[in-house]
Assembly symmetry: C2
Homo-oligomer: 182 residues x 2
Amino acid sequence: MQPIKKIPARDRILTSAHDLFYLYGIRATGIDRIIAESGVAKVTFYRHFPSKNDLIRAFLEYRHQRWISWFKGALERHGQDIHAIVPALAEWFHSEQFRGCAFINSVGELANELPEVCEITRHHKQHMIQVISELVPQSTHRDELINALAVAIDGAIIHAQYDTTPENALKAVDHIIAVLIP
Amino acid sequence: MQPIKKIPARDRILTSAHDLFYLYGIRATGIDRIIAESGVAKVTFYRHFPSKNDLIRAFLEYRHQRWISWFKGALERHGQDIHAIVPALAEWFHSEQFRGCAFINSVGELANELPEVCEITRHHKQHMIQVISELVPQSTHRDELINALAVAIDGAIIHAQYDTTPENALKAVDHIIAVLIP
DNA sequence: TTGCGGGTAGACAGATCTGTCTACCTGAGT
DNA sequence: ACTCAGGTAGACAGATCTGTCTACCCGCAA
């Protein structure tokens, strides 16, 4: 049994920050709480992340890696074609901790004070688009199709976040994909 | 010349809160700043809104009224049919103060602490759906069409918020509408 | 004239937030 | 045996946040 304490402080901070930021929001989560949750000393925290904004950037980078690799895996598990998108999203939307897209949430919360979150979000979504574009066969209007798909997926994420169930969001994506493919 | 001071305190508070909440986010905006901006005394503020949460609820209600009536007007100006949606959204997305959907933003920021924002958001979106459903002629699969449209519009709002220009978001909605109508 | 609804200015309490500082501990490699 | 990277506990400073309190003001209607 590997004790928890053997995990390096930086990693513990990052995973705690991830869970708290994602669940409660970034501004709602104080440094003290992250320190308590990760069981790290305050000095240690500030040695790794000189300011909260540095932690926010690291959190977004971490979230990006984590989400993209989960997404790729889910698509593969569901058949690695365009019809894998809906069941992959369904998995996410139904998961216990689902709270929408961490990037979209941080844009709404911070874009004015930390302008780079928009850029970070664009990179993240660009990467997501690149992953789904591998599922779409060569065709005319391929770019329009992918652009429309990206917008529909973001809309579905939002709907699943505020709706009582994610079913309508999933149906909408399903329907849009159906009418979109030639 | 009607001096500004003749506008009742409650209204001044509400419009200031609206502008600040929408631009900077709700948590990022302190009561003191709203008080300063609206030129009202602190006691007056707390007489009208006993707590910040009361103000948040009033803000969402106010925003709802204001946005819906703007939206209806914009759709009418653009021909009051399904093809009015894209130019109406274009107007909004290009406007100086555009910062996405106030409801979506507050869900991301507050849903955990103030659960009713999800419900308020559902009501708002329900109302939006009702407005656009008046543009859609009777047809088979009408409900699916409207549901898909609602998701696509929310996705476009998000995209327009973090993208450098709203053009791709608008193109996506345009494309989705085109393939959606029979 | 008197009463009152609605307003003003600003000090204050108490919590909480970010970030700094001092002083100490531990274990692995040389 | 020694060093040093990396860690710990927790007090403290200073800003900022929500919410309360006292004391005063003005215009209008009965």
